[in-house]
C-alpha cells in the first residue's frame, strides 16, 4: 500500500469509472496505486425510492448538474456560452452514481469515421482491438444483455440475462418487426440476477436518483471496495489544484487541497487523469508553467478543444393499456440501432441510438419535461394523469456529435471553485448536422411509437441539462501535432502523464459512452503494465 506522501507507482486523479477500472488493473499487477477524488462516498441514505416524497426529492439530492447541486465536492461550470449544460457527479463512483447504466459498445464504424464517412477522425484502434476489453469490463461490471445482436460483430455476451422487454417493449418489438427495423433486448449495467456485490434489480425506475437496491453497477459498488482490498489507497475530499513538472519535463505528482483547505503534494512515478472531459482539460490548463505556457500536454493546442456532449432527444408515446411503465429499468428495456449508420440521403452523417424507457410516477406526468407544452393543469388534470400514468413509454435518443475545435473547455476568467481555483467554462454550439440528425431521429421514433399503437406522441422539448457525455477534449491520435495522447493514452509531450477518460475520444459515437470509457481505460492500463519496465519516471 502506498502511504500519502510516499511516491506512488501510479497516481490516478478521479475515482469514477476510468479511475476505478485503471486502479483495478494496475493494483492487480502489483503496482502501488494512489487515487485522489474530490468527492465523497455516495450517501445512499438519501435514496428515497421507498418514500412518498421520492419524486420531489430526487432532483435535489441526485441532480447531475453541479451548478444546481452545489455540494462541497463540486466545482461550478460556466455554461453561459453553451447550448447544453454539462452534467457530472463528483464522488467515489463518479458519474456512474447517477448514470442510467445504458451499456452500449461502440460499433466498428465508430472507430473509422473519417474513412467511412469523410468527417471527424479515425481512432488509432479498432473495434476488434477493444473487444477483449469490452468483454472483461462487462464481467467486472455485471452487465446484463443478450449475445447475438446483429448491430454488432458476433462475440461473447455479457454475464447476466437482459431485463424483460415488459409490455411496452413487446409492443415496440412487434412494431419494429412489422416495420423491418432493428431492435434488441437492451444491455444495461444493472444486475438482473444477484451478481458478486450487486443485488437483483427490482425495477423501481429510480436508477438515476440513488439506486436503493444496490443493483446498478456504479463503480463505488463494483470496483472500489475490491480495489481497496487490493491495496489501492483512495483519498476522498482531495481536490487537485495542479500537476507538478520537473526540469526534465516529467510530471512528479499532484498538489491537492483537502476539505480543510490544507495543501498537500502527492508524488508519483506516473500520473493518470480520469477526471472527465471537463475536469481533465481543466487540470491540464491549470498546470501551465513557463515551460508549458498553454497548459500541460498542449503543444497541439487541442487540450480542451473538440468538446462533444451528445445532443439528447426524447419521444413519448401514450397507449390505451396499462403498460406498468411507472416501473421498469431506467435503464432501458430494448434498444434500436436501425438508423445508427450513415445514410447520406438523409441529409446528415452519422446517427443515434435509441433506448426504450419507462416514464415514472405521477409527479413526472405533470412536469414540463418531457411533456413540453402539453400541460394538463385545470379541467383536464385527472384525465391527463389517467392517460399518462403507467400508460406511456419513451425513446431516449443519443445523437452523435461531431468534433469541432470551437466547442471547447477553457478556464473561466472570473468564476472560481470553493478553493479559489479557476472554474471551467464550456463553449458549445450544436452543429447543423446534429440538428438535422436529431430532427430525423425524433420523427422516426415518433413513427416507431405510433406503429406500436400509441394514440398520441409527444416530442419532448430540447432542454439544456443533457450534457451527460463529456468527450473529446484531449484527443487521442498518432500525430503529436494533431492530438494530445497516443493510442495508449500517453501524452505526446510528457512521457509519464496519461489520460484514460472520455477526453481522449477522437469522435463521440452515438452511444452512451461508459462501456467504451471502461474498456478503453482497461486497455490503456493493461498497456501501461506491460510497458512498465520501459517507463520513464521522475526520480
Amino acid at each position: 500500500m502506498a502511504d500519502p506522501k510516499t511516491t506512488a507507482d501510479a497516481l490516478i486523479i478521479g475515482a469514477g469509472p476510468t479511475g476505478a477500472v485503471a486502479a483495478k488493473r494496475l493494483a492487480e499487477a502489483g503496482m502501488r496505486v494512489m487515487v485522489l477524488e474530490q468527492g465523497d462516498w455516495p450517501d445512499y441514505s438519501k435514496a428515497r425510492a421507498d418514500h412518498a416524497d421520492f419524486e420531489l426529492t430526487a432532483g435535489r439530492d441526485w441532480s447531475p448538474n453541479p451548478n444546481r447541486r452545489q455540494a462541497p465536492a463540486d466545482y461550478p461550470i460556466s455554461d453561459v456560452d453553451s447550448d447544453i449544460s454539462a452534467v457530472l457527479y463528483n464522488a467515489v463512483g463518479g458519474s456512474t452514481v447517477v448514470y442510467a447504466a445504458h451499456w452500449q459498445r461502440n460499433m466498428p464504424s465508430d472507430f473509422r469515421v473519417r474513412t467511412l464517412d469523410g468527417v471527424g477522425d479515425d481512432w488509432p484502434l479498432t473495434y476488434e482491438d477493444l473487444e477483449p476489453f469490452y468483454e472483461q469490463v462487462e464481467i467486472d461490471f455485471g452487465v446484463s444483455g443478450l449475445a447475438g445482436d446483429p448491430a454488432f460483430p458476433p462475440g461473447k455476451g455479457p454475464p447476466l440475462p437482459p431485463p424483460p422487454l415488459a409490455s411496452m417493449g413487446r409492443r415496440v418489438a412487434k412494431a419494429h418487426n412489422q416495420l423491418g427495423w432493428h431492435w434488441w433486448p437492451a444491455p444495461n449495467a444493472i444486475a438482473t440476477r444477484p451478481y458478486k456485490g450487486l443485488r437483483e434489480c427490482t425495477q423501481r425506475a429510480t436508477c438515476m436518483w440513488g439506486c436503493v437496491e444496490g443493483a446498478k453497477a456504479s463503480v463505488d459498488r463494483t470496483h472500489w471496495p475490491s480495489n481497496m482490498e487490493l491495496g489501492v489507497q483512495l483519498i476522498t475530499g482531495a481536490r487537485v489544484r495542479r500537476l507538478e513538472v520537473n526540469g526534465r519535463g516529467l510530471v512528479t505528482g499532484a498538489t491537492y487541497v483537502d476539505r480543510q483547505g490544507r495543501e498537500h503534494f502527492q508524488p508519483a512515478d506516473v500520473t493518470i487523469l480520469g477526471a472527465s472531459g471537463i475536469g481533465t482539460p481543466r487540470l491540464l490548463l491549470l498546470s501551465a508553467t513557463s515551460a508549458f505556457p498553454n497548459g500541460l500536454a498542449n503543444s497541439s493546442g487541442l487540450v480542451g478543444r473538440r468538446l462533444m456532449m451528445h445532443p439528447f432527444g426524447v419521444v413519448v408515446g401514450l397507449f390505451d393499456e396499462d403498460l406498468g411503465s411507472t416501473h421498469g429499468m431506467w435503464g432501458q428495456h430494448l434498444h434500436s440501432l436501425e438508423f445508427y449508420e450513415t445514410d447520406a440521403s438523409r441529409g446528415f452523417v452519422r446517427g443515434a441510438k435509441w433506448g426504450l424507457q419507462p416514464t415514472g410516477g405521477p409527479l413526472s406526468m405533470t412536469r414540463s419535461y418531457p411533456w413540453g407544452d402539453n400541460a394538463i393543469w385545470g379541467a383536464g388534470f385527472h384525465a391527463g394523469i389517467r392517460k399518462r400514468l403507467g400508460r406511456s413509454a419513451m425513446w431516449g435518443i443519443i445523437a452523435e456529435d461531431l468534433p469541432d475545435e470551437e466547442n471547447r473547455v477553457v478556464l473561466d476568467a472570473e468564476l472560481k471553485d470553493s478553493d479559489g481555483i479557476p472554474a471551467p467554462k464550456i463553449v458549445y454550439r450544436m452543429s447543423e448536422n446534429s440538428h438535422r440528425l436529431l430532427d430525423f431521429h425524433l420523427a422516426r421514433a415518433k413513427e416507431s411509437l405510433e406503429a406500436a399503437g400509441a394514440f398520441e406522441t409527444v416530442i419532448a422539448p430540447l432542454i439544456r441539462e443533457t450534457g451527460w457525455h463529456l468527450l473529446g477534449t484531449c484527443k487521442m491520435g498518432g500525430d503529436p501535432a494533431a492530438s494530445v495522447v497516443d493510442a495508449w493514452g500517453r501524452a505526446h509531450d510528457i512521457s509519464n502523464l496519461y489520460i484514460f477518460d472520455g477526453s481522449i475520444w477522437p469522435t463521440s459515437s452515438g452511444m452512451n459512452p461508459t462501456a467504451t470509457i471502461a474498456a478503453l481505460a482497461l486497455r490503456c492500463a493493461d498497456h501501461l503494465v506491460h510497458e512498465r519496465s520501459r517507463q520513464e519516471v521522475p526520480v
Binding site: 435535489r60 460499433m107 418489438a173 410516477g361
Partner: protein
C-alpha cells in the same frame, strides 16, 4: 417560513385552479394540499419555501384563475414552484394514491421468463442479418 392560515387559504385557491375536483377525484384543497400536504412538501423540499412565499405575495388580492394564467404565461420559474408543490403534495395524499392506483416506486421482482422469446419475436431481427458496417481496413492490419 411559517405560512399563515390566510396564506394557506390563498394557496388552496390557487391549487384548485391547477387541480380541480373532477372525474371522481378530489380537488387539491379537498386533498389538503395547502395543509398537511404543504407541510410534507416543505419538510422534503425546504428550498421551495421562499419561492412559494413570493408567489403568494404576488397573488394576494387577485383572481386565482387569472393569476395562474398570467404566471404560467409570463414567469416560468415562479409557476414552476407551484407546479412542484401542488401536485407534489397532492400525490403524497394516500387517498389520492389509492384512487389512481399508484403505490409508489416499490420493488417489482424481475420475471425470469425471457419474454423476448415470446412469439419468436427475435426471429425476424436475426434473419435480417448484420446491420453494422464492419471495420473497413481489418484485413490490412
Amino acid at each position: 417560513m411559517m405560512f399563515s392560515d390566510q396564506d394557506r387559504q390563498l394557496l388552496a385557491a390557487l391549487a384548485d385552479v391547477l387541480i380541480p375536483a373532477a372525474d371522481g377525484m378530489p380537488s387539491a384543497s379537498q386533498a389538503d394540499v395547502a395543509g398537511r400536504g404543504l407541510d410534507q412538501v416543505l419538510t422534503a423540499r425546504p428550498d421551495l419555501d421562499a419561492g412559494l412565499s413570493d408567489v403568494l405575495n404576488q397573488a394576494s388580492g387577485l383572481d386565482p384563475a387569472q393569476f395562474i394564467a398570467d404566471l404560467q404565461a409570463n414567469d416560468a420559474a415562479a409557476f414552476g414552484v407551484l407546479a412542484e408543490i401542488v401536485p407534489g403534495a397532492y400525490f403524497m395524499n394516500q387517498e389520492v394514491r389509492q384512487a389512481i392506483g399508484y403505490a409508489g416506486q416499490g420493488p417489482r421482482t424481475i420475471d425470469p421468463r425471457p419474454d423476448y422469446m415470446d412469439d419468436d419475436l427475435l426471429a425476424s431481427v436475426i434473419r435480417r442479418g448484420p446491420i453494422y458496417r464492419p471495420t473497413p481496413d481489418l484485413r490490412l492490419k
